[in-house]
Symmetry: C2
Subunit: 68 residues, 2 copies
């Protein structure tokens, strides 16, 4: 019953004109390493960064991150 946060960032990047990690990072104001860490589930981001990513892809937050 221990839940984990999954993310669809890589898929969203690919579906948005092959957007690179670098471009996404710059667009939302974090470093590339942060995007990699989140994308690879090294840690879950702050709520603010999560919202910025969702906004960048123009989707609701729970289409980027899923808690289950």
């Amino acid at each position: 019953m221990k839940k984990v946060i999954f993310n669809n960032i890589k898929i969203l990047r690919e579906n948005n004109g092959e957007m690179s990690q670098q471009k996404l990072a710059k667009a939302i104001g974090v470093t590339r390493q942060t995007i990699i860490a989140i994308e690879k589930n090294k840690y879950s981001p702050s709520l603010e960064v999560a919202f910025k990513i969702a906004l960048e892809f123009d989707v609701p937050l729970d289409e980027v991150f899923v808690y289950k």
Copy 2:
């Protein structure tokens, strides 16, 4: 254009049987001070804590936190 995160935790507590900050804190596994800090916008929580709060009230995350 600078966006901020708002939250409806207080209203959600009131609409869920006058749930106290203490009970909410215990239910999601954080301290009461953390609930107070989030509720009063002293800082925005981690994505994980945000998801736990939404789950506790059985609503989607963007009904608890709004980014605008």
